[in-house]
């Protein structure tokens, strides 16, 4: 049988670090980075006798995430201990939620590979604490434990096995990321590890009713690797079955360099986490009023922004959809539009040049180094005629390299547009003198010649001449 006879089944467990100021069970800072073991206290270091106290903001953020993904919010949930030994887990257990998660039975809408709407169901979202980090061999041999991340709050969103291709999995994860960004519960910076996914993959013959045995690829933190890993792993499983083999349920590690998956541990070492209710914490009881209040104050979600961009700002459906796919792009768009007052130009810059540079640099929108104010000011400079659009592109490149006030960039590089009439006239005369053939062509009715002449003038001024003035003056001179 061919690969086309198989169906790939994918489910995702997505961990998002919440952007609360303090950790989930103590008042230490959640800030990323910092010298090792400086954002720690007896509680998150698991010192003997220290006790956890649940950060109420974490519950609030969890409920927000649940509401934004159409979940039922549990009025009565609890915390459970997941016991295992590892040096990045100082208590020797993670405080998670086992049988009573905060949110259950949600869904998000994505598009399938044909562009048709598709619903991906969410089994649950629960709250838990993150582990610390191990630094291997960084300081001359051995491993060192950094507990700054230990106790940073996470939400784990578990999908149903509803995805059928790597593309769907990517779009689901992008959608989830975008929702969490919009409701401001997580900054979802994958490069900082604040959004990670465990990817479950199985295959089955098309039309089969039972699922195949799944494997789980742990801790994936880039869209590209997730897509590659799903493609590799599903093909590996299909080949294995085709060769008469059996897929084993196991945890795998995806290696980006070799483009392969490797087993993380053998089956004999399978962990028994011995979940039980954490006796140090009390039940989480939420009133209808509390949940209603959070619902009322949920920030605007992408769908609503999209509609507003279309109806109020006159963007096309496609442009509005592309911009609202990322909260960072959407926020950049709104900020830019507010500074320059031109929604269409703002959208054009974001969807053409900025998106192209992001692609070239393999960057995510959240990595854009400049501010909306800077982009807005640049557009203002173009509109005022201080710089041309061509110079604008140069300014944008500079904004990606060394973000600064566009006016400063323009000044420092001597990019101010030449709008002085006598200076322009001088260039026009020089160009005309050097290109008699073009004059003849123009007079013979070849309009293209004008474009050529303007191009020559731009070249001569290194793009700084005001193109409208050039155009006007060439026509005047040629018609004399």
């Amino acid at each position: 049988m061919a690969r086309d006879d198989y169906e790939v089944v994918i489910g995702l467990e997505v961990h998002a670090e919440l952007s609360t100021k303090t950790k989930i069970f103590c008042s230490c800072s959640t800030e990323f980075g910092g010298a090792p073991n400086t954002h720690c206290c007896p509680v998150c270091m698991g010192m003997p006798g220290a006790l956890p106290v649940l950060n109420e903001k974490v519950v609030e953020y969890g409920v927000k995430a649940g509401l934004a993904t159409n979940c039922e919010i549990s009025r009565n949930s609890k915390s459970d201990r997941k016991n295992y030994f590892y040096p990045d887990t100082p208590k020797a257990y993670q405080i998670s939620q086992y049988d009573k998660p905060l949110c259950e039975n949600g869904f998000v809408e994505i598009e399938d590979d044909e562009g048709n709407p598709k619903t991906i169901r969410l089994l649950r979202i629960h709250i838990e604490d993150d582990a610390g980090k191990l630094n291997h061999d960084e300081f001359g041999g051995g491993s060192l434990v950094d507990l700054n991340r230990a106790g940073v709050p996470l939400i784990e969103s578990v999908s149903m096995p509803d995805m059928r291709s790597a593309g769907e999995a990517e779009r689901y994860l992008r959608k989830l990321k975008s929702i969490f960004e919009y409701i401001e519960v997580s900054d979802c910076k994958m490069q900082e590890g604040s959004l990670r996914a465990d990817v479950n993959v199985s295959v089955r013959k098309k039309g089969a009713t039972e699922f195949g045995t799944r494997t789980e690829m742990k801790n994936m933190s880039s869209f590209r690797s997730i897509v590659r890993a799903i493609e590799y792993e599903s093909n590996r499983q299909i080949d294995l079955i085709e060769e008469g083999g059996v897929v084993e349920q196991e945890s795998l590690r995806w290696d980006d360099v070799s483009g392969r998956t490797f087993p993380m541990r053998s089956k004999e070492d399978a962990e028994d986490y011995r979940y039980f209710p954490d006796p140090d914490l009390v039940a989480i009881r939420l009133s209808d009023e509390y949940i209603e209040n959070i619902k009322k104050n949920l920030p605007e979600l992408p769908e609503s922004r999209k509609q507003r961009y279309m109806s109020e700002l006159g963007l096309s459906e496609k442009d509005a959809r592309l911009i609202t796919a990322s909260k960072y792009l959407s926020d950049l768009f709104e900020g830019t539009k507010n500074v320059c007052g031109n929604a269409k130009l703002s959208a054009n810059w974001i969807l053409s040049d900025i998106s192209r540079i992001l692609n070239e640099k393999e960057m995510e929108p959240d990595q854009i180094p400049f501010t909306a104010e800077q982009l807005g000011k640049m557009i203002v400079l173009i509109e005022k005629g201080t710089i041309s659009s061509a110079i604008g592109k140069k300014v944008l490149t500079e904004l990606f390299e060394n973000p600064n006030d566009p006016e400063e960039i323009v000044k420092a590089n001597g990019w101010i547009q030449i709008s002085d009439e006598s200076a322009i006239k001088e260039v026009v005369m020089q160009v005309l003198e050097a290109n008699p053939q073009s004059i003849a062509d123009f007079k013979a009715g070849k309009d293209k010649a004008l474009g050529f002449l303007v191009g020559q003038a731009m070249k001569a001024t290194k793009g700084k001449a005001n193109p409208q003035m050039l155009n006007k003056m060439f026509i005047e001179e040629l018609n004399k």
Binding site: M47, P48, Y93, V145
Partner: protein, 488 residues
């Protein structure tokens, strides 16, 4: 005047009237510890030098005419499972033999705020697991009444030090009887508060849903005073209750007229030493003569409570003690190259046999496939036990029971762990139901060893049991009639 025989309320009077200086008091205790520690072995860490220096400063304050608070300069002993900043907290385990906590437990903060002076950290069964203090990896504490017998446990160091006048009072912790049973065996007063009354922050956890810190004192009045110092809501402990804070000494009315005392017949059946039983029956008569109503009731829980207790406490312990892995603090084995070996060897070498037994038991009852049969069932039994107590408290104010089936027993006399577990048969149900219980001495047996009586109250009814205990104490005056003899 023998300073170390005085109660704390007597010491307070002597300081206030300038009959005694704080330095004199601390010096007297320092001398007493020097004299008796070789026999009793109550201390893991002795802090008398530091205490003498602190006493001097307080005396200077007094001499300068500055006012001092009621407890400034009062010495105290601390069970070695409460974290003390800069001072070792060993839990009497090889695992934490050199562990110095970077912070103070909330109860320690409270005592420091009041100006109490710590004389040292007191011995215990390793990680509070045991009923004789024989499980200490540090030393063997002896019972001051008879040095060949155990002081009880796990707060054996605390109870023995109070009984031997080496500290005027002490803090213990009680998970299944660890304050009341040693108090009973050492002839002193020990109270386990209602679960949630005293902050557990900084108490090295044995079983989180059962552990409570409480006072061990010479008399009931001191007990009420020390309880005043350690209770109160702590935002650092989610299980600590936010309730109005009474002055427990105000509850000591010396009057039990009309008090309804229940005597559960199941607590007086097979297994209870006849001499202990006889003393408790005398105590019931005493209560009747004081105007209380004493009636027999049925509280049919003893069959389940020990099993329930050991399943829940071991399950929690197996998880709580996971953090002792030799990585960040505590004992790390010299042997082992791989991470797994370091874990395995550090824990194998660092924990004693009873701790290992309970970790294994707890790991087993939580493991997949057994959870429902053990842990879940134990939680259900826990609810039933609590309901049975509730029924009794509908009609009665106090439950009167033995604290321990026997008086203090000899070292190495329990032939199996199970036999040792039976020493807690009358105390564990109180922890399982989260109730307050106090043990006070009610006489001595023929060999002169103290017998303890346990008074159990409804949740947060410490005032009721303290008054019942106080009234009995005033009428019988155990301390005037009996003293530890340090029999060899």
């Amino acid at each position: 005047m023998n300073i170390t025989e005085l109660t704390v309320h007597e010491l307070q009077e002597k300081i206030a009237s300038k009959e005694l200086t704080v330095s004199e008091i601390v010096k007297a205790y320092s001398d007493r510890i020097d004299e008796k520690e070789k026999d009793i072995n109550a201390f893991v860490t002795i802090l008398t030098d530091d205490a003498i220096a602190k006493a001097k400063k307080i005396d200077e304050k007094i001499n300068n005419g500055q006012a001092i608070s009621g407890f400034e300069g009062i010495p105290i002993g601390i069970k070695d499972n409460m974290c003390t900043k800069g001072i070792k907290t060993t839990c009497s385990s090889k695992m934490l033999e050199n562990f110095v906590a970077p912070y103070d437990a909330t109860v320690i903060e409270n005592l420091n705020k009041e100006g109490l002076i710590s004389l040292g950290k007191l011995n215990m069964d390793e990680f509070a697991m045991g009923s004789s203090t024989e499980n200490s990896a540090i030393k063997k504490t002896r019972n001051p009444w008879n040095l060949n017998t155990v002081p009880g446990g796990s707060s054996g160091g605390s109870a023995a030090a109070v009984a031997a006048n080496m500290v005027p009072w002490a803090l213990g912790s009680d998970t299944g009887g660890s304050i009341r049973q040693p108090a009973s065996l050492c002839g002193v007063v020990g109270l386990k508060p209602t679960y949630g009354l005293v902050s557990r922050y900084g108490l090295v956890a044995y079983a989180s849903s059962l552990d409570q810190i409480g006072p061990i004192t010479k008399d009931v009045y001191d007990n009420a005073m020390l309880l005043n110092l350690i209770t109160g809501h702590d935002p650092k402990d989610s299980t600590s209750m936010d309730l109005p804070k009474p002055d427990y000494t105000k509850a000591l009315k010396n009057d039990v007229k009309g008090l309804k005392i229940a005597v559960p017949k199941e607590f007086f059946a097979e297994g209870l030493n006849p001499e202990v039983k006889a003393k408790l029956e005398e105590a019931m008569d005493k209560y009747r003569s004081l105007g209380a109503i004493v009636e027999e009731v049925s509280l049919d829980i003893s069959e389940y409570s020990l099993a329930t207790y050991y399943i829940i406490s071991c399950a929690e312990a197996s998880s709580n003690l996971g953090r002792f892995d030799g990585i960040r603090y505590g004992y790390r084995s010299e042997n082992g190259e791989t991470l797994r070996d370091i874990y395995f060897n550090s824990r194998s070498e660092g924990f004693g046999p009873e701790v290992k037994r309970r970790i294994i038991l707890g790991t087993y009852v939580l493991s997949s496939g057994y959870y429902d049969a053990y842990y879940k069932k134990a939680q259900q039994a826990r609810t039933l036990i609590t309901n049975e107590f509730d029924k009794v408290f509908k009609d009665y104010d106090v439950i009167l029971a033995p604290t321990s089936p026997t008086v203090a027993f000899e070292f190495n006399s329990k032939s199996s762990p199970l036999e040792m577990y039976l020493a807690d048969i009358y105390t564990v149900p109180v922890n399982v139901a989260g109730l307050p219980g106090i043990s006070i001495p009610c006489g001595v047996d023929k060999s002169g060893m103290p017998v303890g009586m346990q008074l159990i109250g409804n949740k947060f009814q410490e005032e009721t049991i303290l008054n019942a205990a106080y009234t009995y104490e005033q009428a019988t005056n155990f301390r005037a009639n009996f003293k530890p003899e340090f029999k060899k």
